[in-house]
């Protein structure tokens, strides 16, 4: 590896984080000008100069399809303005994971726990099936195949797979079961995840019905979190049949837990859970001002899948007709990260939604609008931009803002570097919920009348007599003009052909706002 290879590798590692279009770095050899990826080459010219060659990945395509591309370089796309991002599942699938361990034989209200569960499940499923054609049920039972003494921790079986209108089948299948064994709950939930068909447009839920706790050493909470993160199912709902308070504590982290002690309360609990999973989950994002009121708006934001980092939704925050943050319909299965695209952006991570409910996500947004005004500046005339750097990490530019353009920043300390000539540096604290306006003086113009070639530099006369170089350039026998900030300057120049330093000449001049100074060289 020669030193240039090493150098390029270093460059590679440092370049990539700042620019994300697919990127690769290769040393350019011979004719291989076009290689995949956006590339940086170092090439050795005749003078052995270093070349950083930022190359478009379309390069090879360009070469092959040049005629086509030329025809197609100018095209126009009309964007459909009604493209929406509303989450709406095609089907809801609910898996009952039913406890078939020995304790389920115990008397509950009027019958045994298991018998009660069987009766009520039939009743509920039957009634839902008739009202809602977009719902399917399945039942998995654990602890019923081997007695307790067998210590079978894999005693779990999908008894009735997902299908429409299977209430009667569930009832009759459960009738053949005798509770007797262990409670491999974590194992059953994990197996249960595989009971759902592979269907992206399905909303999957698990309802665990049990009278005790895990007896096989599994960790139901961990399993439950994984299923949500991997977007397989909602966190399970747990309906307890007279479980003790110790078990309750253990189930809290697994999902929504409801303990019941009577047939009526059991029926209600399961009924509520079913209707909740069938309800639409809505989300409202409140961007709070200094008074804690959700008045901040019009800022784009992104919702990512927390587990995979995938970009799920992009919105521009909007107020509805009533002046409230408008409602979003999101997939309740999953954990989200929210990024609000202020400068710098604000992130809120690990957001879990409560299914079937209206979820409010609140963010404090100490937003500060900043405007850098300069009367004559316009993008069209290529006027200077302002580089905004956070004071805490000034090496990185946070944003480049055009003069006379507005930017939304988080309140705080910033360094502004305005690329006028000479540059203007401003250290500032941006105040939230206020307009932070800066006025930059209008440019003046220096017009140079030159009949021959000169080496020239413009210096600003600083306080104390020091000269600050503003620009250094060559004049090629033509008149030229420079836009400059008002101030006292010196033009120092020398005919290019002259061999003597003493041919250096100096002209002092003053630039006034909006005015032109003419210097004859």
């Amino acid at each position: 590896m020669d030193s240039s290879d090493f150098f390029i590798k270093q460059l590679n590692s440092q370049l990539i984080p700042s620019y994300r279009t697919p990127f690769s770095l290769k040393k350019r050899e011979g004719n291989s000008q076009c290689q995949g990826g956006l590339q940086i080459y170092k090439r050795d010219l005749l003078l052995a100069s270093n070349t950083y060659y930022l190359k478009n990945k379309l390069c090879s395509l360009l070469r092959m399809l040049l005629p086509v591309l030329i025809l197609n370089t100018l095209y126009s796309i009309s964007v459909n303005a009604q493209q929406t991002q509303v989450y709406k599942p095609n089907v809801s699938r609910i898996l009952f994971v039913l406890d078939g361990s020995g304790s389920m034989k115990q008397q509950y209200d009027k019958a045994s726990k298991f018998e009660t569960a069987k009766q009520l499940l039939f009743k509920l499923i039957d009634s839902v099936e008739h009202k809602n054609p977009n719902v399917e049920f399945a039942v998995r039972v654990f602890g019923f195949q081997n007695p307790n003494t067998a210590h079978n921790c894999k005693d779990s079986k999908l008894l009735i797979p997902f299908a429409k209108n299977n209430a009667s089948k569930i009832y009759s299948e459960l009738g053949h079961i005798t509770p007797q064994g262990m409670s491999p709950i974590a194992y059953s939930i994990l197996q249960g995840a595989g009971d759902f068909p592979d269907d992206a447009r399905s909303l999957n839920s698990i309802i665990l019905i049990t009278d005790g706790e895990e007896t096989c050493g599994g960790d139901p909470c961990k399993v439950s979190k994984e299923l949500l993160a991997k977007k397989i199912t909602l966190k399970p709902f747990i309906v307890g049949l007279n479980v003790d308070s110790g078990a309750y504590e253990k189930y809290k982290c697994m999902g929504t837990f409801i303990n019941t002690s009577s047939e009526a309360s059991f029926y209600n609990a399961v009924g509520v859970i079913i209707s909740q999973t069938l309800n639409t989950t809505t989300v409202q994002i409140n961007l709070l001002d200094q008074n804690g009121n959700p008045t901040v708006t019009n800022i784009p934001f992104t919702l990512y899948d927390h587990y995979t980092g995938k970009i799920e939704y992009n919105f521009v925050h909007t107020m509805n007709e009533k002046g409230n943050p408008d409602t979003l319909y999101l997939d309740p299965v999953g954990i989200y990260d929210l990024e609000l695209h202020t400068f710098p952006s604000i992130r809120k991570e690990n957001i879990e939604l409560t299914p079937g409910k209206h979820n409010i996500i609140a963010l404090d947004v100490p937003v500060a609008d900043m405007d850098i005004e300069c009367i004559a500046a316009s993008i069209a005339s290529n006027s200077a931009q302002a580089l905004v750097r956070p004071k805490s990490n000034p090496v990185n530019i946070l944003s480049v803002q055009d003069l006379n353009g507005q930017g939304k920043y988080l309140a705080g300390d910033y360094k502004l570097e305005i690329l006028t000539s000479p540059e203007i540096m401003i250290d500032t604290t941006l105040v939230p919920y206020a307009d932070n306006n800066f006025k930059i003086p209008n440019y003046g113009t220096l017009s140079l009348i030159a009949g021959e070639n000169y080496l020239a530099s413009i210096f600003l006369e600083q306080q104390g007599g020091k000269l600050q170089m503003v620009e250094t350039f060559e004049i090629n026998g033509k008149n030229e003009s420079h836009n400059m900030q008002p101030g006292k300057y010196r033009l120092i120049y020398k005919p290019k052909k002259n061999y003597h330093s003493e041919s250096t000449r100096t002209q002092q001049f003053i630039v006034d706002e909006g005015k032109t100074v003419v210097l004859n060289l």
Binding site: L38, L45, K55, N56, L58, V79, Q85, V316, V400, G465
Partner: protein
């Protein structure tokens, strides 16, 4: 005593010849020594009698400068023809006319003369127009005397008159134990140095001659990494160390021989020199009078060529692309370089920030001696957004799987033209007047290098 004196002269002569090398003026310089040979010059002095001291120093000087091109000498003596009691106020003669190759004549003449008369000093001085004979040259009068004018003449008036008429430069007057009164009356006639012994006299005469024939000059060597003075074409500011004010701005130049040009800078001040390379380099400059001072400054430089690959029609959009140069890891912006320009920098490692959309950071860019480092930016594509309504929104790139905002739409502008680097982008926006979030549009688009894309919102 005499032997001792000769040894001394030899010793100082050696120092002079082997010390800092003087620079001799290229212009024709004519020096007329006006030597007092009045009787009092016979009086004893430390280091021999005055006359002997004067003659030996003159001999030494004549030997030293006799062979230097462009330099001519002459000798006028006064008070040597008539004895003191005659009180002859016209007792002065040009003994050796101003010419080159007359060192032997001068030495011989000095051997022959015996001091005896009075001091008609002003008379001798006012003969200068005749002695210099109107030859266009730098005419220097060096007066050696041990007393003021003996004929009641005004030395100052005459000297001033001659200077005003451009006949002579301000005379040098070297006194040999002048009394206070003489000192006073001669001080306005020229640059007076009174001496009290042979050592002082010899030094003063030498200084006067050197002032007459040499210049104080400065050469700034801007050295490349091999220590060779090849760097040039940059302005240099000389700040007065005392006041901080700029005294000179001079562009560094190489003369036709390829050597750094000689600068004429007043030795009256001490300077802080700022060489306006990017970044600047500094040096302290203290000039040694009558010598050629060479200051070596390390200023190795190379070029950064910041260009766009290919051309593009929307000039204003592309000219916005600038390259900010920093010392690696440092905040201070050393220069803002425009697109399609080549700029010289000190060699070293720099970080670049390029204000493309999205921004580009290139770390550890090396600038090597006399080489050109090329930084080429792929030609951006031009995106034109035509909005049928005022819109809130932004353009993003996806970086590390995250949405990174690179540009906020300008609410009020119905049309926006942007130069975007080739790549994939996402535009997220909605109408300003929308009352539901579900009108938000999330649109991906591709920008090709040199291409243009128009999106209708």
């Amino acid at each position: 005593m005499r032997r001792k004196l000769i040894l001394y002269v030899l010793a100082t002569g050696l120092v002079w010849l082997t010390g800092a090398r003087p620079v001799f003026a290229q212009e024709r310089t004519r020096i007329l020594f006006v030597l007092d040979a009045s009787l009092s010059m016979q009086s004893h002095w430390k280091g021999g009698n005055k006359w002997e001291v004067a003659c030996h120093s003159l001999n030494e000087i004549a030997d030293s400068i006799g062979q230097i091109p462009h330099i001519e000498m002459g000798l006028r003596v006064l008070g040597h023809m008539f004895p003191q009691p005659d009180m002859n106020c016209h007792d002065s003669r040009l003994e050796v006319p101003i010419d080159s190759n007359n060192v032997a004549r001068i030495k011989k003449k000095l051997e022959e003369i015996h001091p005896k008369g009075i001091t008609p000093l002003v008379y001798a001085i006012e003969k200068a127009p005749e002695d210099f004979a109107g030859v266009p040259a730098k005419n220097v009068l060096i007066v050696i005397t041990d007393g003021e004018d003996a004929c009641d003449r005004d030395a100052c008036g005459v000297s001033l008159m001659l200077q005003k008429n451009n006949i002579i430069l301000r005379p040098f007057i070297i006194g040999m134990s002048l009394d206070a009164e003489s000192n006073q009356s001669l001080s306005c006639a020229g640059k007076l140095v009174n001496t009290n012994n042979a050592t002082e006299f010899s030094a003063a005469l030498k200084d006067a001659v050197m002032d007459a024939i040499s210049k104080t000059t400065l050469q700034i060597n801007l050295n490349d990494q091999n220590g060779k003075p090849t760097e040039t074409d940059v302005n240099m500011s000389f700040y007065d160390t005392e006041t901080g004010m700029v005294r000179y701005n001079l562009y560094h130049s190489l003369n036709p021989r390829g050597l750094p040009d000689t600068l004429n800078i007043s030795p009256m001040f001490k300077y802080k020199l700022q060489v306006h390379t990017i970044p600047p380099v500094y040096a302290d400059v203290v000039l040694r009078k009558n010598t050629h001072t060479v200051i070596n400054i390390s200023a190795p430089q190379g070029y950064l060529n910041f260009t766009l690959q290919g051309t593009i029609s929307k000039v204003a959009a592309v000219e916005r692309i600038k390259c900010l140069l920093h010392r690696a890891g440092q905040l201070e912006t050393l220069n803002v370089q425009r697109i399609n320009t080549k700029t010289k920098y000190l060699t070293g490692t720099y970080d670049l920030e390029v204000t493309t959309l999205p921004r580009l950071t290139v770390k550890n860019v090396k600038i090597d001696q006399s080489k050109t480092t090329d930084v080429q930016i792929p030609a951006p594509g031009i995106l034109t957004l035509n909005k049928g309504f005022e819109a809130y929104g932004a353009i993003f790139v996806v970086e590390d799987g995250k949405m990174k905002k690179i540009y906020d739409l300008r609410l009020k502008d119905r049309q926006e033209t942007l130069a975007l680097q080739p790549g994939k982008y996402r535009l997220v926006y909605r109408s300003k007047n929308a009352r539901t979030i579900h009108t938000t549009v999330d649109k991906e688009f591709d920008i090709t290098s040199g291409g243009s894309l128009s999106l209708k919102l």
